[in-house]
Each structure stands twice: as structure tokens, then as C-alpha cells.
Symmetry: none
Subunit: 325 residues, 3 copies
């Protein structure tokens, strides 16, 4: 579809969140279609996890987004989908890869939303494809279990914070979940949640560096808990780490099914977004260093640095590998 002014920031760059939402919709369609391809209970595929994804080049207003999706692995109860996004300038014909994302879906019964159904197996062209898929499946399963533990954190507002401290740029927004935010099951689309998360992360980044910012990457996101129609969700973001030219922002989503008294407010999702600051010519700018004050902030900064160095090392290894081939 054509990118509109509302999809973009004031510099004309399409929000990463808009792209994440399109990716998720494509993934939900292909995996729901696959899971219903055999006779049996009708089901809707619910997003369980998005693997880390890099935004390779910014998309602009007026460009057309081409989204293609393919199922690359199925386990007994989950589907792995690979989604590619290309941006096309229909005036010049130029095409660029914007994103490659890997998503995991789980089929939930339409009749009983707590029942996970079985996934019809796909055919692999080669045995190695199945083995590699299985490896990816095991890895993400492990990672999902881990993140389930460390979810207790809350963001407290700070009065009169100094510029470039964590408290200065931290932000939160609340959203009342409406019908168009939801799947047929009455739960929020993962893509809607990711779009809101990107919006908050973008505000944190802009408050910190006061320039035009764009999403550079999103770390793996796990969707542990569904969010029901009519809930109020609070999305909070705080900066955790800055390198010379990038900012890492942690985003939490808390859901409050406040009309339904049987449930307390709970943490539904959390994730790390990385932003860069761009000059008017689209070149990355240096970003102001984050000032950490408390012990927790210092610890989170070190952890962010660890993630940053790990990603950097991985990318360099890939480039060397590519150069050798």
C-alpha cells in the first residue's frame, strides 16, 4: 500500500511501527490460512514472538510497501513465518529491501481461546531446512522462557529531571483497546501493540536527542500474555544505553482489564528498540551520551552495552563470512 502522511514523522520517514504492523498482519494471514488448511477446529493464529529485526533503509511518504510472507518451519504447536518488506518508489522504479522479519505464531481455537491446536506440517525441499528450523525453534523457545522471568520492572516519573538523564526522556502513553485493534478472537493484534511501542520509543529517543530519529532495529519481542478488547494498555519507555550513534530504549506494555475485576494489571510485552538520529541529508548523527544516576540505571546501561557489542560482533562475523564467499 501507499505510505501516507500519517504513517510518517515530520521529516517524511515512515514510522518503524507502521512497518512492524504491516509485517504482523501479513504473518497473521499466512499462518491462520495454513493452520486452517486441514479439516478440523477453526482457529486464529496469535503472535507469540518476533525475532530481532533490522530496519535496513528508511521508507518515505508516497512509496509503496510490498510485503511478502512465507512459512519456513512448523513445530507441533507453532508456525515460523519469514516476512520481507520492500519499498518501491513508483516514480523512479527504485526498490530497496526495508526489513526481513521472522515471526512465530500459535493457533488458538475459535471456540475455546485457551486451547492451542496442532499445526499441519509443511514439506521441506531439503532435510537441512527442517533441521535448521528445528534449531531456531529450540533457541527461541529457550529465550521466551528466560524473558518470562525478568518482567517486574516499573517506571516511576521523576520531577524536574536533568537533560540526558533517564528520567528526562522517559515517556508513557495509555490506549483504550477498540474493536479495530483486535482479531476475531477479541484480542489485540500483535502488530497494533508493536506500533504503539515504537511510538513511545520514538518519543523517548526524540526527547533525548531533539533531532529527527528513526527506528534502526528491534530486539526479539515475546508476547507472553494476550490483551483483551476493552482493556486499557499503558506503554512505557525509558532509555537504557547510548553508543556514539545509537540509542537503546526499553519498552513495557502493561494491560489493565479494568472492567473485568477478576484480573490484576499485568505485564503483557516488553522489548528493546534501537534508534539512530539522522541529519537532514539522512546521515547518522552523534547522539548525546545517556547520564546514568542510580545503580539500576548503571546496571541496565552495562547490559545494553553487552547487547550492543554482541550485535556488532555478530554483524562483523556475518560480513567477514560474506566477504569470504
Amino acid at each position: 500500500r501507499i505510505m501516507r502522511p500519517d504513517d510518517a514523522n515530520i521529516a517524511g520517514n515512515v514510522h518503524g511501527g507502521t512497518i512492524l504492523k504491516m509485517i504482523e498482519e501479513a504473518g497473521a494471514i499466512i499462518s491462520t490460512r495454513h493452520c486452517n488448511s486441514q479439516a478440523g477446529e477453526p482457529c486464529v493464529a496469535a503472535l507469540a514472538r518476533v525475532e530481532r529485526t533490522d530496519f535496513l533503509s528508511p521508507m518515505c511518504i508516497g512509496e509503496v510497501a510490498n510485503v511478502s510472507a512465507e512459512i519456513t518451519y512448523t513445530s507441533r504447536h507453532s508456525v515460523e513465518v519469514q516476512v520481507n518488506v520492500m519499498s518501491e518508489n513508483i516514480l523512479t522504479g527504485a526498490k530497496k529491501v526495508t526489513n526481513k522479519a521472522t515471526l512465530w505464531y500459535v493457533p488458538l481455537s475459535l471456540k475455546n481461546v485457551n486451547k492451542v491446536l496442532e499445526v499441519p506440517p509443511i514439506q521441506y525441499a531439503r532435510k537441512e531446512q527442517e533441521d535448521e528450523g528445528k534449531k531456531r525453534y529450540e533457541e527461541q523457545k529457550l529465550d521466551r522462557l528466560e524473558t518470562k522471568q525478568r518482567n517486574g520492572d516499573v517506571i516511576f516519573p521523576i520531577i524536574n529531571p536533568e537533560p540526558h538523564t533517564v528520567g528526562y526522556s522517559q515517556s508513557s502513553l495509555i490506549h483504550l483497546v477498540g474493536p479495530s485493534d483486535c482479531t476475531l478472537l477479541g484480542f489485540v493484534h500483535g502488530g497494533v501493540t508493536m506500533k504503539l511501542m515504537d511510538e513511545v520509543a520514538g518519543i523517548v529517543a526524540a526527547r533525548h536527542c531533539k533531532t529527527n530519529i528513526v527506528t534502526a532495529s528491534v530486539d526479539a519481542i515475546n508476547f507472553h500474555e494476550k490483551i483483551k478488547k476493552g482493556s486499557v494498555i499503558t506503554i512505557s519507555g525509558r532509555m537504557t544505553f547510548t553508543s556514539n550513534k545509537s540509542m537503546e530504549i526499553e519498552v513495557f506494555v502493561d494491560a489493565d482489564p479494568f472492567v473485568d475485576e477478576s484480573r490484576e494489571r499485568y505485564r503483557a510485552v516488553s522489548a528493546f528498540f534501537t534508534y539512530v538520529s539522522l541529519s537532514k541529508e539522512g546521515k547518522p548523527l552523534p547522539v548525546p551520551q545517556l547520564l546514568t544516576e542510580t545503580e539500576d540505571e548503571k546496571r541496565r546501561f552495562e547490559e545494553g552495552k553487552g547487547r550492543y557489542l554482541q550485535t556488532k560482533a555478530k554483524r562483523q562475523a556475518q560480513m567477514q563470512q560474506a566477504a569470504q564467499q
Copy 2:
């Protein structure tokens, strides 16, 4: 994309206008891409005309719309695009053809919006395709000239009208044209206009028969005049004809570029929409007969009857032809 509650009426049927908007977006993308495929001045394709289209089966919330577009003819200054819409129930895998539409676009220069550029010719598989396309081109050109004449009509409100009269159901809405309604040239997308037209026609139909109604078909629509960002548009609809099971509604779009004082209010588009009333089981219901009062109303009723009988005869001829093949 997946159909959402916001795309549909309370019975769950997707608005015809939502489908028309998707069709037009697909047509705009493919024809803009084609017109920029040769080196030269960059341009944006603007909708000039949509041929008559039938809504063959209703689409529902949760279904996926598959839209495909193909260029079928090019004249020196215009492009004919054929767009097909399929609805797919991803739970059952069932697919149905929803619409087939033919649209005509004209490439306008990005630098000078009043300059119509030349269209790169397409290759035809067979000579007959080109000849048939040329015939269609000449026919629509003639029809566009004709409709340009009969555009002076205005809708006057009636005080305390009787049920089932023209005055009882006539409706109008105003809309302030925002940035997301517009193309890169700063003019309203044809699809946005058609969506608003369908909204008004649907309200007229529902006021008349007070049941669940759906768009059955739209007669050819000609876009004579562009509408600029920031304009206020008034969309007015009145019922012109009823058969046993259908209602014909005439819709006008008037644009008021009120910030730009040099221009008066002008008629931008007009069209005929046909609606049917559906029972809870989706069967067509009889509709209350339209009560005509003035001479003009009686004349328009007869003209509507003429269009109705012509369409019916054409459809029967097609069915006989199909039966013979």
C-alpha cells in the same frame, strides 16, 4: 488485508466504499508505476473514470481481501487498469470473486499538475486485444463528454417529509479534506471520494428501507475535476428509482476550495449507486416503493427505470451467451 469492524456495517458486511477504495489504490499504484517506467518527467496517475462495477458477493469482517491489478490498454494520454478483488475466508480457505472493476487513469506531471504527460505504450499478446481496448477507450471518452453536460443539479432539503418520499431519505455530508486523503500532488484520491459517496448512498438506502443494506453495483463514475487539499466537500445523495428488490441512489460531490478565494464551489463528481436490502440470512428483501411527488422526481424515476431495464437486458444477454458457449 484483513477486514476490520470499522470496514463493515453492523451486520458485518464490508462497505462497498471500502472495496472501491482498495480497488482505486491498486489501480493508482500500477498505473503510476507504468507511467514512470520510461525516462522523462516524473508523474502521478490520477483517476479519470471507473466503469460500472457489480458487487458479486458480500465480504465479511475477518476475511482477507486479495486485490490484483493489470494494465489492459494504453492510449496516448490514458491507462486502462483491470482490478479484481477476491475475498478469502482464511478459516475455511473459501475464495469468492467480489468485484471486477475497470479504471482509467491519466498521468499528471509532478512539477506542473495541469500538464498531462504521455503514456508509454504496452505490448499486446494479440492484435485483437489492442483493437478491443481502443473500442473501450472511444466508448468511455464519449460517455465522459456526455456526463460533463448534465451536472447542474442541486439537492434542496424538504421540511417534514413523508416516509418513502425522495425528501425523506435524502442526505448529505461535508468532509474537510486532510493530508491522508490526498496523493503526492495534493489532490484527493479517487478512492477516498468513492468511499464517501458510498457512505452517503448507504445512509439514503438505509433511511428508506430501515433494514440491513449492501452495495449491489456502481454505475460508471467520471472524475471531471480535481479536489485540492484543504477543500470542504459536500456529498449529497437522493433516491431516484426503486425496483422490487433494488434501490438506485444518485450521489453528487461538490467541492468548495474556500481558503482559495479565486474559485467558486463546483461539481466534482456524480454517480449512481444501486443497493439491495438483505435479510438476516443474507437473502434479498423486497424494498418499499419510492413515492415520487414533483415532475423532476417522476422524470428521474423513469430515467432510473431505463437504466435498470438496460442493465437487466444486458445481463440476460450475457447469460444466454455464456450458456451457448
Copy 3:
């Protein structure tokens, strides 16, 4: 949240209606949460009234709106909420107060929408707070009863009106109430109604003075009647009064629950909006005087003048008081 192009007019000023909608959403969330804080029947808070609110400074595209809400009084069946809106330019860090609004909500049972539930009492820091709240409660109750009387008026269209007459700028729009416009109870959000009212009022103001206009204030709005999903609402606006630099516009909302034949069309809400005209530098411009023709128009002009002088006197008294302290 960040203000987008669609939230604003072509001069980049955010529509007052967008701000009113955010205010109402914040109020609905905090009061629904409060009313469900004690065990008992689940309920949704419905907007009953918004006190007069002034738009202190215009908000622009790209700015972030910070909305905070606090419960300031509870009666047996209603909740008073104070909402503050700050606009923040995240590039410069500049913050401005945009609005302060007071809203009254009533808890309606989720099971039986006609049943008003009891509100859990709040704790007051000082006895005077409770007394002042009670006084405000009694005052608004009286005002609500009064407005219920004077609701019969209708807007008749005028043919070929002269510029600057009432008939020249009067406008109306119809809107089909969709799922995203509604609360969990299936009734239109008060904020959605106010946004549409501001849209019509803005078109009336722009038609009158043909310049860039912004909402300056909204008089108290009472929501006497709920509007059901699937209804058609007609929002009509006409100018009632002009001072040197402001325009007062009366707006009516009529609901037509046309699928439900048991109910006639009814007046749901009415209110007065005040607009000012701004130059490109953001300075208030003189506005053309309203030409009144009929007796009713002259009477309404005088009434508008009364409201204008009263507000002016009140504001001057407040400024004197502030100067003395």
C-alpha cells in the same frame, strides 16, 4: 501521543476536536477504573457533562500531547474528573498548558445499560475540598436541567445566501456510528461526538471568514441522551454571534436510530464553540461581522453577546484577583 498531520488543519494547528477527544478518553479511563475499584457489578463510565474549557495555546503537528487526569469529586452517582493537557515540543523541550477541563461521568452497568450504579467515595485531603466539590456538583446539576428544556431548534437551509449571513456559513454533516466510535456498552464515546461537533463548527467559522481558524473555547456541553451503535447522527452548526475578534457557533447533534424503528430522531447534544481567526504569524485577526436577518437570528446574536460579555467580565475579575494576590 504525537500529533499527526491528520490531527491538524492545513496551517498545522491541531483541531480542538482532537484535543477534546483525548481529554474525554483520559476521563473515561480514570472514572471507569475508579467505579470498578470496589467489588460489585462491572460498569463503564459514560460522559454526562464537560464544563466550559478554554484552548490556551494552539498545538502543532509533531508536538507531543501530555494528558493527565485526576478524580476531584464523587457524588453518589457521578464522578468529577479534572484533565490537564500540556503540549511539548520534543525538539526544543518547550512545554505549554493547552487545556484544563472538568468532566462529569456516570457509571452504567455492563449488564443493564439503563442502570446507574453507585460510585465508591474518594478521600479528601481537606474538608473544604469536599464542600467545594459539592457546590460544583449542585451547580452543574442545575445547569443540566435547564439546558434540557431549550432543545427544540432545527437548522433550515437557505438558498443562495449572501456572504456573512447566518445562512451562508451554516453547515451540517451526517456520520454513521461505527464500532470504533463506541464504548464497550455500544454507545458513542462523548469524545467522538465532541470531535465531530468541533469539525462542523470549524467549517462554519472557516466559511464565514475564509482564513485559518482555531478553536478558542467550548461552553459547557451536556450529554442528555446516549447514541447507539449503527445510528446516523446529523451534526449541524450555525453562527450566532461575532465580536471584533471571535465567532460563536451553536452546534446541534441529532441522532436517528433508524434500524430501531421504535425511536424517533432526537436531539442528543448541543453546545457553543468560540473560534478565532489567526494570521500566518499566529496573531488574532479581525473577523467579518455577522449579518443577522430574521428576528430569531437577532435574538440569538444578543444572547451570544450576553455570553461573550459575561465571560469577558469573569476573566477580568479573575485577573484582578490574581493581581491582588
